[in-house]
Amino acid sequence: MTETTACTLLQPKEYKSKVKPVWCPGCGDFGVLGSITKALSGLQIQPENAAIISGIGCSSRMPTYLRTYGFHGVHGRALALATGLKVARPELTVIATGGDGDGFSIGGNHFLHTCRRNPNMTYIVMDNQVYGMTKGQASPTTDPNWEKGKLTPGGTGINPFQPLVIALASGANFIARCSSSDSNGTARVIMEAIRHPGFSMVQILSPCVTFRPEQRDWKNLVKPAQMEATTDPAQAARRLLTDEGLYTGILFRGDRPAYQPMPEPSIDNIAELDEEFRI
């Protein structure tokens, strides 16, 4: 039995489906796809017991490229859909994936409240600071001076959204930043995120080589965080507010209990519900 088990260890490639990604050559999301398969293999999660949930955008195509269960829903609602699934089926490994526009703009409200609610699932945001699928508009994380956004000529002029600061303030239980260029390091962080109870937020800097070619340079600019992950939200807040967004690693580990209401039935027969209506 032990031998058979050893032989049937699932390799990362066995988590990939046969569908060919629509991504541009050089897109950071290829690296993230690889990291997710390595993390699932690393934890030996059976493909039928994992579900990858997404909204709309380039990175939201992720579920189709994996051989797990998946849901490619509407724009911005991945976290809501994933929450419903996780509450209904707590034993599944649920991972939501998507981009910065999907998660922080149209889906911003769900981001706040999923951090607050703290369901035991992982959220992987491939942040490239641009709307790629609609061909190059500024996103919530875009620098205010980026002038190439076709809807915001001259730049947005407004401060970028700071997803990890917001995640911390809203109650996320695990916060990490990775770079798609470091496939193995990202895989290790995703494994930690899946293992950590509660809502785990993983921001992955994932370059858009088509509309933000300058992001190719990210792989030279990112640097591992100098400190171990803190469990102190105040310290985490100070770090996140001052780190210029390029430090990678696990930045915060909280200890809030995960949201998981699914009570055992207290009545044997549904007909008992009738009693309250009887005159």
Partner: protein, 579 residues
Amino acid sequence: MTRQNLSIALTGSGGSGVMTTGSMLLEIAAKAGWYGFMGRSAGPQIRGGEAAALIRVSSEPIESPDDSFDLVLAIDPGSFGRFVAEIPLRTDSLIISDAEGGRRSSPLPETPAQVLDLPMKKLAKTVKGGRPNMIALGVVAKVIGLPESTIFPILEKFLKSKGPEALEASWACVQVGYEAASDLPTFESPPINNESATDRWSITGNEAAGLGAVRGGVRFVAAYPITPATEVLEWLADALPKVGGVLVQAEDELASINQIIGASFGGKPSLTATSGPGLALMTESIGLAVCSEVPVVVLDVMRCGPSTGIATKSEQSDLNIATAGLHGDAPHLVLSPTSVTDCVFTTQWAVHLAESLQTAAIVLSDQSLGQTRAIINKPADIAFIARRLIPDQLELEQFEEQYYRYAVGDSGVSPMAIPGQVGGQYTADGLEHNEAGAPSSLPEDHLAQLDKRERKINGFDYGKHWADLEGEGETAIITWGSTTGPVREALSRLRAQGEDIRLIAIRLLAPERPGEMAAALKGVKRLLVVEQSHSKQFHRYLRAAYDLPAAIRVFNRPGPLPFRPNEIIEQLADWSAES
């Protein structure tokens, strides 16, 4: 002639306790052996504003407001003034009002009814901690002939949580009111009907819809509060944990609809309840449920629209958005209960259909059904439960490389694997897809999947439940939802006079049932359409969906005024006189 029923309105300012008083009165009447119901009409304020409890009691089961009211108890004259249109009165109707109640600047409006003044406020002051609404309860009980002894047990039940002092003060007030009313004229009351009294229920349409959902198998509900649907969700929040289910309060309606899609994808029959504004927000994702073939039920308790409209009052104006509000070609189910009792059946059936057909079902209830508490015979147990076509493990093993989640097949219903099933992995997608679930922009895949999703819904055998049909005549009335009640009462009055008019009350609004409708309309020469919508949404829907007789008349008006049986009879009489 013995009076078979009585209609009573209690009005007061918001927070004056008229709704509680009305609920107590209905329950006392139910204990005494009457059927009946209490509708609610209120301004938008939580405190202040105005409120009316609209009650009808009867010896027989009833589901329609009467033509007019027999008795009004106005705790203050001003609040009654806000309900003149909603509380029609006759010359022999009686208003008992307190000239000293409420603000002096608001006298009782002009009315054909007789008015009697009773100083309820002053009488309440004779009791420590006394309130005028409890004086009013004693007065009404006396005037309609309810024995004083039937009141205390109900007071005790309602006021249990308020402590012995509150109960004592209320009971003292009721006795003072009962005594004070001994000089007032009394009404001849409907005979008591105790035949089936042990099997009677007191239930609101919103509770009934919640019960139907649980009976049908719903075990996950996502909720965002909205008037007048909140009570469905509050009832489910208590009931679901008892059966091992769960309700999650979501951050908005976009989250509610997507949470239930996620939970249903995970294999749990799921529902959310909302009203027009929430339904509007949900429509994009209802389309996702249709396209990805994930069963969900959305209960819309309609209120006056558009926009925020009148949140507390009823209208049948979400028919357009429910039947035609989804973008793209998105065949789905739309159902509507025809009475408070039917909220159980129709919601349960909707769960069964959504699960059987792997699609979205919208159930259109409305404020007048949802917030009306009715005394009814116990609804029949129905066999319909969630029964989703799930592949067994052997079936999944037959797929060598890939499970074809969206296999086109004959019926259009394809086996839906549930996460956890080995070999059933697929990606549910709102992108058009091929049979394996992979995104596809090929015209042939689009056509095949559109056909599949339409065929499974159109080809299903819905049986006789698609509509309630009564009568044989050459004149028919066609209606849906809450207006069915008054139409039924009008037709039963006409039947008693020997005139047979047909009734067609549609329960299944989508998909259309042309064959069944043709049979239902066979021999009909004149068709009266009755609906509570300003723009005649139902009439337009019928015109688009069905072959109709040439002679058609539409009796429509917007909410919140309910239809009354005599108005429907007048419509028929006017039509006959014209032709």
